[in-house]
């Protein structure tokens, strides 16, 4: 434990690749928590956005620390594009659900047919 702490505290103070990865792991876990526990469809969407941002941090961190190429950043651009179109489609669906069922509680809209 002593040796672990004497190694861990100086590691915390100089930022390296793992710091960014751990931030993205925390963000990913929070997003999963939001997706699993929220009952409002829009808050589930916010959880999905958190997960996508965590993935993007990973892409860009590996692109920076893994060498001098920009492939990770190109992948991150496509993630952002898909996140934008996903948000547009999902909100259109949520609005439609609200018009039909007068609620966006995803537990109440589990039937396939009226």
């Amino acid at each position: 434990m002593e040796s672990f702490l004497s190694e861990f505290v100086p590691w915390l103070l100089s930022v390296k690749l793992a710091h960014f990865l751990i931030v993205s792991a925390i963000l990913f876990s929070l997003g999963i928590y939001g997706i699993v526990t929220r009952r409002n469809a829009i808050l589930v969407l916010m959880g999905i956005e958190l997960v996508l941002n965590a993935a993007n941090i990973n892409f860009i961190a590996f692109s920076r620390y893994g060498g001098v190429n920009l492939d990770g950043q190109a992948a991150a651009i496509f993630v952002i594009i898909l996140a934008a179109s996903e948000a547009a489609i999902a909100l259109a669906i949520v609005l439609n659900i609200y018009h039909r069922f007068q609620t966006v509680n995803i537990d109440d809209v589990s039937n396939l047919k009226e």
Binding site: H19, S29, G34, M46, E49, F78, I80
Partner: protein, 165 residues
């Protein structure tokens, strides 16, 4: 502890704390507005990682586009007059256990595997020209597919969201 480390911890703190508020706040409006700070914090992390173009794109698309869309969704689907803007949660305890296991194992994995990887020296000052060239050469096909996907998403969203007459 250099300036880089201090700035990293400032942005990481903003990101993580506001993400906590997004996930745990019982008020949808608070959650939506703290998502704004999460996106800004992530954009700051991108700047630290030499991704200037992506940081600006993050702010333009996430804050200017997706967050505004989400706020529109909140406004259009919540019963603001009855102050029915609070929201419930389900299965919090199993979810907390699961998420704690996921976060702990991922962090432990990252720490044990990549704790000593430090940044290589780079002379890249701005990434925008290089990224533009990549999108037009190496990633031309994904770029075109992405444009078609955006078009389809636009048409599909307007088609789904309009009131059927």
């Amino acid at each position: 502890m250099e300036l880089f480390d201090v700035v990293f911890y400032v942005f990481a703190f903003i990101t993580v704390v506001s993400a906590f508020i997004v996930v745990f706040s019982r008020n949808i409006i608070y959650a939506a507005f703290s998502l704004l700070f999460t996106f800004f914090g992530v954009a700051g992390l991108y700047v630290l990682l030499n991704a200037d173009f992506l940081a600006v794109t993050q702010i333009l698309i996430y804050v200017g586009g997706i967050l505004v869309l989400l706020l529109f969704g909140v406004m259009l689907t919540s019963n603001v007059i009855n102050v029915d803007i609070k929201t419930g949660t389900i299965q919090t305890v199993p979810a907390l256990v699961l998420v704690a296991i996921v976060a702990g194992s991922l962090s432990g994995l990252f720490y044990s595997t990549w704790k000593d990887v430090s940044a290589p020296e780079t002379s890249v000052v701005t990434t925008t020209p290089a990224l533009g060239k990549m999108l037009m050469t190496t990633y031309l096909l994904p770029f075109e597919i992405a444009s078609v996907v955006l078009l389809v998403a636009l048409i599909g969203a307007t088609f789904i969201a309009r009131r059927s007459t």
